[in-house]
């Protein structure tokens, strides 16, 4: 009987692991040309970083993590890895592209057009995400 229970437990574990979805890497994102070349009007505004931090902590932190490593409390439940904002891949993107992705969203990431209506705050979040650069 003990052997039977042991095998049942092993079987459950194997089946469980088999159905555990691994997080996939995000696919390429088509960005409208106007956003790729869009200038950040707050590019040199250091004061905006604090505003951006408040917006990030309210709307983004739960998935993207405190340091933008994609390790927020909700991240593990997502099918797609939320991305590492500290790496060269992300930090090499133009500001306009980061702003577009942040506000528009896609798939599991919601759009923030209504929740972040202020253009100033949208650029401020981009400036805050720039501080994640390693």
């Amino acid at each position: 009987m003990k052997k039977m229970k042991f095998f049942i437990l092993i079987a459950i574990a194997v089946v469980g692991f088999a159905f555990t979805a691994q997080q996939k890497k995000a696919e390429a994102w088509k960005i409208p040309a106007e956003y790729k070349s869009m200038e950040n009007p707050l590019a040199n505004d250091k004061a905006s970083v604090n505003t951006g931090k408040m917006v990030y902590m309210k709307h983004c932190r739960s998935c993207h993590g405190n340091a933008g490593l994609g390790d927020g409390p909700k991240a593990a439940r997502l099918k797609t890895f939320p991305g590492d904002f500290s790496g060269a891949d992300f930090q090499g993107l133009p500001d306009g592209e980061i702003m577009y992705k942040t506000i528009t969203g896609r798939d599991e990431m919601p759009g923030y057009e209504t929740k972040i209506p202020s253009k100033k705050e949208r650029w401020a979040v981009v400036n805050y995400m720039r501080t994640f650069k390693k």
């Binding site: 009007p41 604090n50 505003t51 931090k53 408040m54 990030y56 902590m57 309210k58 709307h59 932190r61 739960s62 209504t114 929740k115 972040i116 209506p117 202020s118 253009k119 100033k120 705050e121």
Partner: protein, 304 residues
């Protein structure tokens, strides 16, 4: 219970005698003090966002309304007074009051809502309209909103006495809310209000004007502390009955903390008010600040 001798004239007289000049003065002062810091950038005329985390701060409304098409679910809970200490674990095991409600943003500036409150079986309908929104440059120095609440007491009609009429169940609350966001961390608001009940208990006035001052300051990027002070104006020449000062409602002090996320707002606080519904709070509060008649309350707001 006694029916009202409607006294809207008193309210109008008071409004135009000192409230209007006061708010005009406030607007001029704020405008003058802020214009020197006005930003000359492309965001100058953008509306200020995040003056408060949500449309509710402790016991009072703020100038914030839900986005167009957004639902808000409110769960508001007030425990009993903390005065009994460990006997009822500071009011946690005492009788409590609960309100559940839902608000919906019709437009960016206008919301409607419905809620029900356990005490007095109140059914409420409320609306809020944001008239002005403060701009980044402070060319409009304040956000201004109008809030109205109609409550229907749905207890058995025996409660209302022999000459019962449906209108006896109704209570009204209207408020002008003026708020200013000083910076990312500090916001303040002042809100005069007018409360009217069609029928009240003996020697309780039917009308009451009150002033609410409230504010919040952020302590971390997602957590704030806040306060609220409500003062009913118990003015002699506005009294409905002689000696009604014996039944004057008490002022309220609320203080607590708030955590806001993208989809939720949590507020935990101490307060003198136990009615949840504003008209009950303003007209019937008997808990005194000086006597330490405080209770613990919390508000949970879910956006979807």
């Amino acid at each position: 219970m006694i029916r009202s001798k409607y006294s809207i004239q008193k309210f109008m007289k008071m409004t135009f005698s000192w409230m209007f000049p006061f708010f005009l003065f406030l607007a001029i002062v704020l405008s003058a003090s802020q214009n020197c810091f006005a930003q000359e950038d492309e965001f100058a005329n953008d509306p200020v966002t995040g003056t408060f985390e949500s449309g509710l701060l402790g016991e009072t409304q703020t100038t914030v309304t839900p986005f167009a098409g957004e639902f808000e679910l409110h769960i508001q809970h007030r425990f009993g007074l903390v005065e009994n200490g460990l006997e009822d674990v500071f009011g946690i095991y005492a009788s409590s009051n609960i309100r559940m409600g839902v608000n919906y943003g019709i437009t960016e500036k206008f919301m409607l809502g419905y809620g029900y409150t356990k005490d007095y079986k109140l059914q409420e309908f409320q609306g809020k309209y944001r008239i002005f929104t403060q701009t980044e440059s402070n060319s409009i120095p304040v956000s201004v909103a109008l809030y109205g609440n109609l409550s229907i007491n749905s207890q058995d009609k025996v409660v209302f006495g022999n000459d019962y009429a449906f209108s006896d169940r109704l209570g009204y609350f209207s408020q002008l809310i003026v708020a200013h966001k000083f910076n990312d961390n500090i916001s303040l608001q002042l809100a005069p209000s007018f409360t009217h009940f069609n029928k009240t208990d003996s020697l309780v006035e039917h009308d009451k004007i009150a002033i609410t001052l409230s504010g919040r300051t952020k302590v971390t990027s997602s957590m704030s502390v806040f306060f609220e002070y409500d003062q009913p104006l118990n003015i002699d020449n506005m009294r409905e009955f002689t000696n009604s000062d014996q039944t004057d409602p008490e002022a309220n002090l609320t203080f607590g903390m708030e955590i806001g996320t993208s989809t939720h707002v949590f507020q935990v606080f101490m307060s003198n008010y136990e009615g949840i519904t504003p008209q009950r709070n303003i007209l019937y509060n008997k808990n005194k600040i000086g006597d330490g008649d405080f209770l613990v309350g919390f508000n949970i707001l879910v956006r979807f």
